[in-house]
Amino acid sequence: MPEVALSEKSAAVRELTLGEAVREALAEEMRRDPRVFILGEDVAEAGTAFKVLNGLVQEFGPERVLDTPISEAGFTGIAVGAAMAGMRPVVDIMFGDFIGLIMDQMVNQAAKVHYMSGGKWNVPMVLRATLGATRRSAAQHSQSLHAWFCHVPGLQVAMPSTPYDAKGLLKTAIRENNPVVFYEDKMMYRLKGPVPEEDYTIPFGVADIKRAGEDITLVATSSMVQVALGAAKLLEEFDISAEVVDPRTLWPLDEKTLIESAKKTSRVIVIDEGYHRYGATAELASVIAEGAFYDLEAPVKRMGAMHVPIPFSPPLEDATVPTETQVFEAARAMCGK
C-alpha cells in the first residue's frame, strides 16, 4: 500500500466532507479485513446520531454494524475481549462526554492488557468519539476530554483536522495492534477537503505543517487547526507569517516537528478545545518550552476551553472556546504588531 505524502497538497482533487472521509475509511477497511466490525448505539439503520455511518449496514450487514443497548461500559468491554480473541472492533461513542462511563474499560483493561500479559495478548481496537462545543448541547454533550486518554500509557490518540487526515489516520488506527482513540469534531463533519480515492494511511506520531510561516507558530489540534488557519489568514494582512502545525496524533507525539517550528519562529501559541487547565495545551506547551527554551522570544501561550462547565446559552457558550479572532489578536500581540 503506497505511503502517500503527508500533507494534503499531493492529494487527489476529489472533495469529501470529514464525515464522508470517516465512512470511506471504515468501508474500505471493512472490505479489506473481515475481522473489522462496528458496534455502538444506533450505528446501523440510523447511521449514528450524526449520520456518519449511513449506508454501512446496507453493505456489511447487521453482524458487522451492530446496534447495541445504551451500555457504553459493557460494549466497550466486549470490544476489548473481541479484540483479544481475534476481531478488530471499532467502537462508536456518540458523544465524547460519555467516556466517563468507559474509563475503566479503556484504561484499566484495554490500555494494560498487552503490558500486563508480558506482550502476549493484543487489543487491536479503535474507539471513535466526538469532541467539540458550540452546538448548544450543554455541559454533558460538548466536552473535549481527550487529555484523559493522552495521559494513559498503552493508548494512542488521533485527532484529525481535515477530511484527508481523517481517512488516512483512521485506516492506520484500524490496522494498529493497539487500542487507539480516534476523535472527530462534531463541528467538522461537514468540512470539505480533498481526499484521494486510493488506499493510503498516515503514520502516527508525524505532525503535519498545515501552513508554513516564519514569525509565529500556531500548534493546533482537531478543529482548532481550522481556527488557526483562519487566524493565519487574518495575520497576513499585518505582515505576520504564521506557521500552523498539527500534531495529528497527541500520542505518539511528534515533539521534534513542534520544537523545530518553535525554534524557527521563536513564538508559539498552542490551541486545543479541551479545558485549558491540566489539558493537552499544558503538555504541548511544556514540551515546546523545554525543547525550544533558548530560542523563544516570549512564553508559549496556551489557548483552550474556559475552565467552566460548558453552558447552554449561546452567547455564554461562544465565550468558552478559542476563536479565530482571539487567536489572531493573541498572535498579533505576541508579535508586537
Binding site: 447495541t68 443497548p69 447552554f312 455564554l316 465565550a319
Partner: protein, 322 residues
C-alpha cells in the same frame, strides 16, 4: 364523586394539557429556529408525568431526563421560566446555563433533568437516602426511559435502595424506542423480573391512562414513604413525535401506521377527556375553558421568553463553584 376528587381530575387534565401545549410550542420555536440545541418532546407521554407527580407532594423529589419538559411542568414549574431556560435566557430556571436537558428547580423538588442516560439514577437514590437520614418524610421519583435499562448503574443503585429500604421509586417510561432502535433489540429477558432480582417491588401500568398511573404510582410512593422500600413502575407508553424535533424521517425505524394507531387510539389526553365527559366530571365547555386558559398562559410564557434578555457574557464564569 367528591369535590376534591373532581378537583384532582381537572387538575390532571390541566397539567396534561399544559405539557401538550408546552411541547407544541417547543416544536414551533425549534422549527422557527428560535430554540437552540436539541429538543426531545414528551407528546404522547403526558399521562406518565402527571399521574405520578400528582401522587407526590411539592417537597418530594424527582429526577428527570433529556425528555424532561413534562416532568418539570407536572412537578409544578412555571412555563415562562421554562421557556426562558430553553432559549438560554437569564430569566430561565438555570439562568440559561442548563437548557432543555438540564432544567432543575429546588422550589418544586426537581433535582434536574439529565442528558446522560440513567445519569440521574444515582442522584435520585441519593436524594432518597438523604430524605431517610434526615427523616423529612420525602420520597424521590426517578423518571427514565427504557433505554436507561442498558446502564449498569441502574442496577447498582436499585440494589442499594433495596438493601437500605430507601424511599425511591424508579419510573421506567417504556415508549418502545431507544432513539432509533426498538427496545426489544436492546433489552433481553423480563424488565419486571430485573427489578425483582434486586428485591425491588414492581408494578406495570398503562402509560396512556392517567388514572391508572396515579393509582399505581400512589401505591408504590406511599409504600416507600412508610419505609417499606423502593419501587419500580414499568410504564407502557409511546412518544408521538421524533426522538428529537429534528427526527422527521422515521419510517426506517417505525411505521407510520404504528404512529397513527397510537395517536388516534391511545392519546392520553383524548382518552382522559372522554372519561371526564362520560363521568360527567365536567362538560365540554368546562374543558375547553381550561384548554383556553392554559393556551393563554403558554402563549404568554413564550412571548416572555422570546422577549427576555440573554445573560451578560461575564456570567459565564459564575456558578462554577458554590
Amino acid at each position: 364523586m367528591s369535590a376534591s376528587e373532581t378537583q384532582l381530575w381537572l387538575r390532571m387534565f390541566r397539567q396534561m394539557t399544559s405539557i401538550r401545549l408546552f411541547e407544541e410550542q417547543v416544536n414551533d420555536l425549534y422549527t422557527r429556529a428560535l430554540m437552540p440545541g436539541l429538543a426531545h418532546l414528551y407528546i404522547g407521554e403526558e399521562a406518565v408525568a402527571v399521574g405520578v407527580c400528582e401522587a407526590l407532594t411539592r417537597e418530594d423529589y424527582i429526577t428527570s431526563t433529556h425528555r424532561g419538559h413534562g416532568h418539570c411542568v407536572a412537578k409544578g414549574a412555571a412555563p415562562d421560566r421554562m421557556f426562558a431556560e430553553l432559549l438560554g435566557k437569564e430569566a430561565g430556571y438555570c439562568k440559561g446555563k442548563g437548557g432543555s436537558m438540564h432544567i432543575a428547580d429546588p422550589d418544586t423538588g426537581n433535582l434536574g433533568a439529565n442528558a446522560i442516560v440513567a445519569g440521574s439514577a444515582g442522584i435520585a437514590t441519593g436524594a432518597a437516602f438523604a430524605a431517610k437520614r434526615l427523616g423529612n418524610g420525602r420520597v424521590c421519583v426517578c423518571f427514565f426511559g427504557e433505554g436507561a435499562l442498558g446502564q449498569g448503574v441502574v442496577y447498582e443503585v436499585m440494589n442499594m435502595a433495596s438493601l437500605w429500604k430507601l424511599p425511591v421509586i424508579y419510573v421506567c417510561e417504556n415508549n418502545l424506542y431507544n432513539e432509533y432502535t426498538h427496545f426489544t433489540e436492546t433489552t433481553a429477558g423480563d424488565i419486571q423480573m430485573r427489578a425483582a432480582g434486586f428485591g425491588v417491588e414492581s408494578d406495570v401500568v398503562d402509560g396512556q391512562d392517567v388514572r391508572a398511573l396515579h393509582a399505581a404510582a400512589g401505591k408504590l410512593i406511599e409504600r416507600a414513604r412508610r419505609g417499606e422500600g423502593p419501587g419500580f413502575l414499568l410504564v407502557n407508553t409511546y412518544r408521538f413525535t421524533g426522538h428529537h424535533v429534528g427526527d422527521i424521517k422515521r419510517d426506517y425505524y417505525r411505521s407510520n401506521q404504528e404512529e397513527q394507531k397510537w395517536k388516534t387510539e391511545r392519546d392520553p389526553i383524548k382518552l382522559f377527556t372522554d372519561w371526564l365527559l362520560a363521568q360527567g366530571v365536567a362538560d365540554r365547555a368546562a374543558l375547553d375553558a381550561i384548554h383556553a386558559e392554559v393556551k393563554a398562559e403558554i402563549d404568554a410564557a413564550v412571548q416572555f421568553a422570546i422577549a427576555a434578555p440573554y445573560p451578560a457574557v461575564e456570567r459565564v464564569a459564575e456558578d462554577v463553584y458554590a
